[in-house]
Amino acid sequence: MPPRAVKPVVSRGWRGRRAADVDPERLPPGQYVTSDFPVLSAGPTPHTSLELWDFSIVGELDEPRKWTWEEFRALPSEEITRDIHCVNKWSKLDTVWRGVSVDTLLEGIETSGGYVTQFSDGGYTTNLPLEDITAGKAWVVFAYGDEPLEPEHGGPARMLVPRHYFWKSAKWIRGLRLHSTDEPGFWETNGYHNYGDPWQEQRYQGD
């Protein structure tokens, strides 16, 4: 019988490319810091022209809302600096974005729905309780650093919801749907955790 490794065998002298001096308080359990920005995607990069782009809020609310790109960019925006954490174990610290707070988009809305589904070009969805994207916890961002958000990183606009694993910040965002029931999204229906709090290491169902 060939020798079989039962537990992973340490590779002499290898530590990979991750950053060394990281303050452990900054990192949720099981995460490592990367200096690059891995591009992860569930499908081909959409390329929606800004003329055709809009952002909608639909579902269980008094009146659906919609903004064209010009209207969206005319809304008050802010610079946001946050750490982001991917379920694949990489984290990026102090990422800088520019975007519109979800609170601004939801201002004045009346809803009976307690849950939100983010929906994107290409069909991706992800779900969260309404209270987890309000009160300063989420933005629709259109710039990364000083640059407009590139298509491969979710441009023209993506969600930024830093308190959850980054699959809960949908790229190529086109809107939010409000419901009174929770609707597990693209990954939540297939193994990833429904809530996804990195500080409780909620990666998979059952965690």
Binding site: A5, V10, W14, Y32
Partner: protein, 248 residues
């Protein structure tokens, strides 16, 4: 002789580094000895897993470069600057070191000498690796299947297995190079990226019903596959192995 089903779940084995061969300034062939290796087919790959002291892990796939040869498995690895795994494999590993490996893997992108029909191999950069396994397997079997290799590299210094390919040319194997970035003085070969015209000039005609294997970075493979289909080749006869944006 193979059916396509490989029995049993894949499991990680310990492979010992036997030898390192420098191929080009950025590319090395790393030869492992894998006890109990069940042999492999040309085009298959292995997964390598590295584990750091603190448990951090990375896994990567590498095409097998060698023809089946007992327990020896050769991988040709391009060092990616600031890469996670390739700098370790090409610079750190020393003969005697052991790493975890599983394989052989794959049943779709494989070629065996028993398969009929002229063979067209199209390689972009490090995409040459699994195709070289096919060429070496063909050679080892004394097979004389009509084979054309169209191999695109940036410059002559980047051509992997250059001397061996020259040596193996003839006896039904034609090797055509395209050097896209710089060419040596007096170069009369192709000096541009692979395109439909080049594929038509170099390769078998669709009527000859060749088996085509194209391997390399994703955009390269996309362009080649599209061009071949436009030239009239049967899409089902074209097998591709995309390496993603920068290769494995």
């Amino acid at each position: 002789m193979a059916g396509t089903a490989v029995p049993g779940r894949l499991s990680w084995q310990l492979a010992e580094l036997a030898e390192v061969v420098v191929e080009t300034p950025r590319v090395k062939t790393i030869v492992f000895d894998v006890p109990g290796w069940p042999s492999h087919r040309a085009g298959q790959h292995v997964d390598i897993r590295l584990t750091a002291e603190d448990g951090y892990q990375a896994e990567r796939s590498f095409s097998i470069a060698s023809a089946a040869d007992g327990t020896r498995v050769a991988l040709t690895v391009q060092k990616i600057e600031d890469g996670e795994v390739s700098p370790y494999l090409t610079e750190e590993l020393r003969p005697g070191d052991k790493i975890e490996l599983r394989g052989p893997i794959g049943g779709y992108f494989v070629w065996e000498p028993s398969e009929r029909g002229p063979l067209m191999l199209v390689a972009g950069g490090s995409g040459i690796v699994p195709l070289m396994a096919m060429i070496r397997t063909r050679e080892a079997a004394g097979d004389d299947t009509e084979t054309v290799l169209l191999y695109s590299s940036r410059s002559r210094d980047d051509v992997i297995y250059r001397d061996e390919l020259e040596r193996l040319s003839g006896n039904g194997l034609a090797v055509v190079h395209a050097l896209t970035d710089s060419q040596p003085p007096g170069w009369t070969g192709y000096a541009r990226r692979v395109d439909a015209e080049m594929l038509a000039e170099v390769g078998p005609r669709p009527a000859e019903r060749p088996r085509v294997y194209a391997c390399g970075p994703t955009p390269f493979v996309e362009a080649v596959a599209e061009a071949l289909v436009r030239l009239g080749h049967d899409p089902l006869a074209i097998k591709t192995e995309r390496f993603g944006p920068t290769g494995r």
